[in-house]
Amino acid sequence: MIQATINSLPVEVAPGATILDAARQVSVHIPTLCKHPDLEATAACGICIVRVAGSTKMLRACCTPVEADMEITTEDPEIIQVRRTVVEMILSRHPNECLTCGRNQNCELQTIAADFGLREICLDSIVPDLPIDNSTRAITLDPRKCISCGRCIQVCQQIQDVWALSFLQRGIDTRIAAAGDISLADSPCVRCGQCSAHCPTGAIVEYDETQEVWDKLLDPDAFCVAQLAPAVRVAIGEAFGFPVGTNLTGKTYAALRRMGFKAVFDTNFGADLTVMEEAHEFVGRFTNAKSVLPLITTCCPSWVDFMEKFHDDMIPHFSSCKSPQAMVGALAKTYYAEKMGLDPAKVYVVSVMPCTAKKFEIIRSKEMHSSGFWDVDVSLTTRELARMIKQSGINFRVLAEEQPDHLLGAYTGAGTIFGATGGVMEAALRTSYYLMTGENPARLEFLKTRGLDGVKEGKFDIAGKEIRFAVAHGLGNVETVLTKVREARDAGTEPPYHFIEVMACPGGCVGGGGQPYGVTDNLRAKRAAGLYQDDQAGLWRCAHENPYIQKLYEDFLGEPLGEKSEQLLHTSYHPRPTYRR
């Protein structure tokens, strides 16, 4: 351990710890705009400067390792003046559009400006005139609001391995854009939205579709229904001051009804259905020696997009199951409309997702039109729903909990844990066990699938047969898993895994690109814990136990992987090479 002092307070840190780490340890606040706990320091903003005895320079706290006996001073009049001047510089290059910005009251730059109490910018406003990129219709990139902290680029390149975003030009003309200055839609962008989740300002936000939803809610002819994704329920409370990870399923159902939705479904029901289809698919492949293994999950649209762009040799491994969102959408306009005697043309499906890529998923192929209509009409993010609740004037905190519309709303613990990394694997293995043995596993918790390690591997014994699985989250972690699969394939040896789950966002959907801002591993873990508690507390914990799923198969679909299921619940994949447009 290394001993040092910060503002005369003694501090002891592990080797490699930065001054910023040490300061947090002793509750000394050092302002910074560019450093994010998920990311390596880029040292871009220049605000976290501190003084170290013996050096005439000011050093950046974010990237300066603590050395033995360092005497660190984090504030004195000169440091404060330099910081203020740097903030003033940044504000001179930033549009003063806070009141209409997507990050109003939730912006790191706004907070710093407020903390420094700037009352006047003595410098000319030099905001560049740059166009907004809305081409993905999933995220909105407004380069004028960018402060060039580089977080989005780091997350896109290092964490997600997508390399869509990059800095272009240099000096004062430096700006973020898709590499090659093409539109984001033409770039390798997989719309995961992690850039927006890490942006300190409103430069990258979700593509806002709340107005379209309000318009439909006003339309007397439309029968608006909503569905709520697993990870939304444990994150939306952050927008209303609840402790992180609080499960607010019932309140969210209630809020959606108050806003005018005529029925409220739960994507967890879709998750249970996905488990049924996917477990049958897996068991089918696993028990047939000639089948292609491993099977790879496809609930995550960014992962699907990433695979089609960069790893299309994996297409034969992909589960043909649509995502839970898409399944609920298809059933809302077929099964539900039929049961309720509704004109499916008038059913308008709004899904609430922790995800920006879901906005793309609903139109990714003609198979998303399986009901004869677009199965899902609009996909909102958690952040958009939170805004709509606030616009409605609903007092979310005191709202009485409600139940979903059970036909497409009742769910099991298997469905709810879809929102955390490893959850799909765990849920699918529970039902696979049942399908192969006729009973539920003695222990339902699969601890090896849980947690925030980038790649998790494990083995599971079903009826004397060993199932090897891998779980990866954060697209940058996929490569190691796929490399092992390819090596075995090329060598003609036994595959390293039978079943692989991939979620694009670190932590899985709880850390999704559409979730409330400020995500860190601490938050991801707490949100995931909320889901695991929901699983633990549920009446049913395996998808096949869901009585409404059973009813669905009896009344409508027939059987898993049956003709109707194939038509409504399954999809196909195609290579989408990038940079060829």
Partner: protein, 550 residues
């Protein structure tokens, strides 16, 4: 060419021992010479000799330093001292060739001082006390040898230092010699060379790497270009020795793409060295193997900064990264990497051959050895000068470079390029050392020296230098990216007569924040020219303010 051994090099006789019965004709063919028209002069000389059926070789040589007198032609008749001709035209070249071919006396016009008149050369005898003021260690072969002929380099003792190191010295002994020499990095900051070498050598890594930083970019500075063009093997030899000392198997020349002639000459030197067993496997028959490749910079000034250079060599956007980790610990591809400036490496062979003590005997205090400067601006003789540290600015500007060209008095000297500062005429008696220049608010820098007379407008000059840094800012950190632009806008306003009292205060405040909060030397140093102009010449700025009645 046969592969050389240590014994071959030790046995090689110096060039002075070789007697020639032919006149030697050399044309300065570095970029400065070429720009002044050396190519047609060269062609004219050859054509005229051929026309007269004389088969003497006309040699190309590097920059002799007298750039304002280019094209230069040096003629040495057998048994006579060399005679230098300046401002040579093709017509005069024909005249000169004709005289040589006919055995007539050389023309008396266009004669200019020769290298021997200007500089003493390391290891060569000096005729008289109080002789020439320059002292050439780094430039000892520039303008003397044909840089494209390895034999000429070998004739001047080339690769003997390498042979000595490989056959008789341990890496630690070389480092010790460097420590005794007191050599400091010539790229600008003046970090002790031995310490950098030693730190890199001691860092753990899969592979150690060495880089020669040839990304010279200060406006008006071209020392490194001239050395690379005029004596490429000396830099290469220094690099190979560096590779041996730090335990590297490979090295990179990082040269900006705007230096095509330097690149071409280094490429040729690499080919020759490989063919001669001086590069590649088992160098000079020893166990030491070392390879060198060239990487071109796209001309971004910031890529001279070590961490940005590393990013550029790796094929990434050339932006600086925080230090630590220093490149000596974690550099190219995460490996311990030693980055040395061209001039630093060019000193190596002489330190090895003549000893660290010899080197530290030159200079003043902690600034040992010599420094090459590119002196430009309002002096009579612009060009490259290599002077022992400790010489005063006045001796350089007035003594060596002949003082003001216009007759208008010298007003200030700018050293250290865009990160340096102005030194007013009243401080010209300051000795040139790292410490003295820093005390005046400037710094040594890589060797740019721009001389201004009373007709020069220092508000404009400040704008020029700051504008350069604003253009060259990589844009990574906010203080440099935005601060520089905002400062420049204020300066523009003052220059246009629209500034007010508050603008000067704001400039100072922005400059302070840039100095303290910028990530790399470019941003930290960018305000220096403006601040030093304000320090010494504030009335010139005030005279432009609206409130002053303009």
């Amino acid at each position: 060419m046969a592969r050389l051994t240590v014994a071959d090099l030790e046995a090689r006789a110096p060039a002075e021992a070789q007697v020639s019965d032919q006149p030697k004709i050399k044309v300065g063919m570095s970029t400065c010479g070429m720009a002044a028209g050396a190519e047609p002069v060269f062609v004219a000389l050859e054509a005229e000799l051929r026309r007269r059926s004389v088969e003497w070789r006309v040699a190309r040589t590097g920059c002799a330093g007298m750039c304002s007198m280019e094209p230069l032609v040096e003629v040495t008749l057998p048994g006579q001292p060399a005679v230098m001709f300046g401002d040579v035209t093709p017509e005069f070249a024909r005249h000169l060739a004709a005289a040589c071919a006919a055995g007539k006396p050389l023309p008396v016009e266009k004669r200019v001082p020769g290298i021997a008149d200007l500089a003493r050369i390391a290891g060569e005898p000096v005729a008289t006390e109080g002789g020439p003021r320059q002292y050439r260690i780094v430039m000892r072969n520039c303008g003397v040898i044909d840089p494209e002929e390895i034999d000429e380099y070998l004739d001047r003792g080339g690769y003997k230092a390498l042979a000595r190191v490989l056959s008789t010295m341990t890496p630690e002994q070389v480092i010790e010699e460097l420590k005794v020499s007191g050599l400091r990095g010539r790229g600008g900051a003046g970090f002790p060379a031995w310490l950098k070498w030693s730190l890199t050598r001691e860092s753990a890594g899969e592979e150690h790497l060495i880089v020669c930083n040839g990304d010279e970019g200060d406006p008006g500075a071209y020392m490194d270009r001239s050395v690379l063009e005029g004596d490429p093997h000396a830099v290469l030899e220094g690099m190979i020795i560096g590779g041996y000392v730090i335990g590297a198997k490979s090295g990179f020349f990082y040269i900006r793409a705007e230096y095509p002639l330097a690149i071409q000459r280094i490429e040729k030197a690499l080919r020759q060295a490989r063919a001669s067993g001086l590069l590649g496997n088992n160098i000079l028959g020893t166990d030491f193997s070392f390879n060198v490749e060239i990487r071109l910079g796209a001309g971004a000034f910031v890529c001279g900064e070590e961490t940005a250079l590393i990013a550029s060599v790796e094929g990434k956007r050339g932006t600086p990264s925080p230090r630590p980790p220093y490149p000596s610990v974690k550099g190219l591809w995460g490996q311990p990497t030693m980055i040395n400036n061209v001039e630093s490496l060019a000193n190596l062979t002489q330190i090895v051959l003549r000893g660290g003590e010899w080197f530290s005997g030159i200079g003043m205090g902690k600034s040992t050895g010599t420094k090459v400067f590119a002196v430009t601006g309002k002096v009579k003789h612009a060009g490259l000068v290599e002077i022992p540290m400790g010489m005063t600015l006045r001796e350089v500007v007035e003594g060596i470079c002949g003082g003001s060209a216009s007759g208008s008095p010298i007003k200030a000297v700018q050293t250290g390029g865009p990160s340096g500062g102005l030194i007013p005429a009243r401080e010209l008696d300051t000795p040139i050392t790292y410490e003295h220049l820093q005390k005046l608010g400037s710094y040594m820098g890589s060797g740019g020296m721009i001389v201004m007379d009373e007709t020069d407008d220092l508000v404009e000059l400040s704008r020029f230098y700051l504008g350069f840094c604003v253009d060259e800012s990589c844009g990574k950190c906010a203080p440099c990216r935005i601060g520089g632009t905002q400062m420049l806008r204020l300066l523009d306003r003052i220059a246009a007569g629209k500034g007010n009292e508050g603008d000067i205060a704001t400039i100072r405040r922005l400059a302070h924040a840039m100095q303290k909060a910028s990530l790399c030397g470019l941003g930290q140093g960018a305000p220096n020219p403006v601040l030093s102009a304000l320090r010494y010449f504030e009335p010139e700025f005030r005279g432009r303010l609206t409130s002053s009645g303009n």
